[in-house]
């Protein structure tokens, strides 16, 4: 078991009106090669920032501290050429909206092969062959015809498959999926998730699955990392996190997820309040304002991420949730 991604107190600060505001605050985690990590959180939690950091891209003016390694590359201090080589060879990324992410004026073929051809990894014809094979693997009918099409001539689901093929063409070891299925309808979403799972097993590619949807992450990921306001709230094996969440935030997220099974008439609870920027949060738990179980202890001092069970960590003053929440 080799570790492919390793973060230690990884922090991104953005300068704001004189003082630095952390948008990612001390993330520490390891990802084993070939596994799937789910990064879950609401918008503003820093999950997209983290996935972009894995591509070696940080917000302008950001101050980065701690370490973030991908393979042998230390991303926080990598030279631009190193980052480019990394993007060309080792990391692929799929985005939420394939239609906006693919240049509409070029053919699908150009999108698929431009990376490897420009990097000089493959000749045009080799790249074409590999692209066609990949499209076939993505279960697209008549891949040769698809290669000649323009993005506007394909459906959203087809385009997302093209997007995945484009991300895999250089045979990267890590595939980042940033809300990759959010813009798709439920059926297509399920198909794409099944496809990603298959790719992980067959190609041994490491998946980082960024989503706001706990349920969806549960179908695919081995490990879940729940982010809130740039901090890890809970980290652990998927099944355990979903069946017995240790952090009130995880529990709240789970409750607010719509479910197809069970009592359809139950009102969908929502978490009161909004994600607060870290600078405005009082010392203590960043979730305290919105937490049902908030006590004085929560806001009095710093709360650390502690190991609460083998392989499980949580950032809460209660080492376990009250009985009725289990």
């Amino acid at each position: 078991m080799t570790t492919i991604i390793q973060a230690r107190s990884f922090t991104i600060d953005l300068p704001e009106a004189g003082h630095a505001r952390p948008v990612i605050n001390g993330i520490t985690l390891d990802v084993v090669a070939g596994s799937c990590l789910g990064i879950v959180g609401e918008s503003g939690s820093g999950k997209s920032l983290f996935s972009r950091a894995l591509l070696g891209s940080f917000p302008e003016d950001a101050e980065v501290s701690g370490t973030l390694r991908l393979g042998a590359v230390e991303l926080t201090s990598a030279a631009p050429e190193t980052v480019r080589a990394l993007r060309q060879n080792d990391v692929g990324m799929i985005y939420q909206d394939p239609r906006a992410s693919i240049n509409p004026v070029h053919r699908i073929e150009d999108f698929l092969i431009e990376g490897v051809v420009q990097a000089g990894m493959l000749s045009r014809s080799e790249a074409r062959e590999r692209a066609i094979a990949l499209l076939r693997r993505m279960r697209l009918q008549e891949p040769e015809a698809v290669m000649r099409r323009y993005p506007d001539e394909l459906s959203g689901g087809m385009l997302q498959r093209v997007m995945i093929a484009g991300a895999l063409i250089a045979e990267p070891s890590v595939l980042l999926c940033d809300e990759a299925t959010t813009a798709l309808d439920v059926t297509t979403q399920a198909e794409i998730v099944a496809l990603l799972n298959e790719l992980r097993v067959e190609l041994g590619v490491t998946l980082i699955f960024v989503t706001h949807d706990l349920e969806l992450a549960g179908e695919l990921c081995d490990t879940l990392c729940v982010l809130y306001a740039g901090e890890v709230m809970e980290l652990g094996p998927t099944a355990e996190v979903l069946s017995s969440p240790r952090h009130p935030y995880t529990a709240a997220l789970l409750e607010s997820t719509p479910r197809l099974t069970g009592d359809a008439t139950r009102a969908l609870p929502s978490i009161p309040g909004v994600v607060l920027p870290l600078s405005s949060a009082a010392p203590g738990c960043v979730f305290a304002d919105r937490c049902r179980f908030v006590t004085e202890q929560c806001t009095s001092g710093r709360i650390d991420l502690v190991t609460v069970a083998p392989g499980r960590r949580s950032r809460c003053v209660f080492d376990h949730l009250p009985e009725e929440q289990r």
Binding site: L55, R84, R87, M93, D97, S101, N103, P104, V105
Partner: protein, 322 residues
């Protein structure tokens, strides 16, 4: 645009629209003579001694004894056969005049267009790509200021500085037919002509590049490890080309019209100064034809751009272009 039938329909539609515009122009240009209150002959003869020969010539030329529609039909069929009318000022066929004057104006306008495209695209790209807001603002102010200088003022200033004070360029005429002589004589006029439109093209380039630079697909392309230069050429410039190209028609028409002023200032014997001389001497046949030539150039350029647009941006294909 679905299938070859759709393509044919699209092309036919554009061509028909262009033809209609040109036809309407010929109609307006011809019939306007008869909209002026009073005898059209008086308009045509204004400021001249009405010799019997001249009167007879004009009567025949404009078919003044025929009903209006017959007159127009005769005149139009003459145009189509290449009979562009007779200049009473220069005492020769308008076709001959145009053959002598148009090439010089084409040279001048082409020269100015090259300056505009090269400098305008470069400055616009620089402004869009620079990370310094001061450079961007500086370029914006400079191009706005240039646009505010009328072409004839620019011509006079250039004449004063580069011809009068520094003596680098000749002040008058278009030179002989050799390339170098043309280049020497037409450089100042071309620069004067280009200044107004330089700012326009630079601003259009800047805004369309800026829009593309921040688009998702460009960010994605960079995140795939593609080089900055490649992304700029392949994903930014290519996508920004259509909005920039759509200004080609205006550029051509605007340059042709403005060349009147510049040719007048520099004494360049082109189509523009021909138009000015003809208006002054009320040589209506020449004015008619030059007007039609300018509108024709505008319509033809626009039609070419319209036909090219779907080739550059396939998104336009589904919608039958625009």
């Amino acid at each position: 645009m679905n299938g070859p039938l759709g393509v044919i329909r699209f092309i036919a539609g554009r061509l028909a629209a262009a033809l209609l515009t040109v036809w309407a122009t010929t109609f307006i240009v011809f019939s306007s003579l008869f909209l002026v209150p009073g005898d059209p002959l008086a308009v045509l003869l204004r400021g001249r001694r009405p010799t019997p020969e001249l009167v007879e010539r004009l009567r025949e030329e404009y078919g003044l004894d025929d009903p209006f529609l017959v007159r127009y039909a005769d005149w139009l069929s003459g145009l189509l056969r290449g009979d562009l009318g007779y200049s009473i000022q220069f005492q020769t066929d308008v076709g001959n005049l145009l053959a002598a004057r148009l090439p010089i104006t084409a040279w001048l306008v082409g020269y100015a267009a090259i300056i505009i495209l090269v400098v305008g695209l470069a400055v616009g790209s620089w402004s869009a790509l620079t990370r310094s807001p001061n450079v961007d603002r500086g370029i914006l102010i400079a191009t706005s200021a240039l646009s505010a200088v009328p072409a004839f003022v620019a011509a006079l200033v250039l004449l004063l500085v580069f011809s009068g004070v520094l003596g680098w360029f000749p002040a008058f005429g278009a030179g002989d037919d050799s390339f170098l002589s043309r280049l020497e004589h037409l450089t100042l006029p071309a620069v004067a002509l280009s200044l107004t439109y330089l700012g326009l093209i630079a601003r259009v380039t800047r805004s369309s590049l800026k829009q593309e630079l921040t688009s998702d697909h460009v960010v994605v392309a960079r995140s795939r490890g593609l080089g900055a230069a490649y992304v700029f050429r392949h994903h930014v410039l290519r996508n920004a080309l259509n909005p920039i190209l759509s200004y080609a028609g205006i550029l051509v028409a605007g340059l042709l019209v403005t060349s009147q002023l510049v040719e007048f200032a520099f004494g360049v014997p082109g189509m523009g100064s021909l138009l000015v001389e003809s208006v002054r001497s009320i040589d209506f046949a020449v004015v008619q034809i030059v007007t039609i030539v300018i509108v024709l150039a505008f319509v033809v350029t626009n039609t070419i751009v319209d036909l090219l647009a779907p080739l550059i941006n396939p998104r336009l294909r589904g919608k039958g272009a625009r």
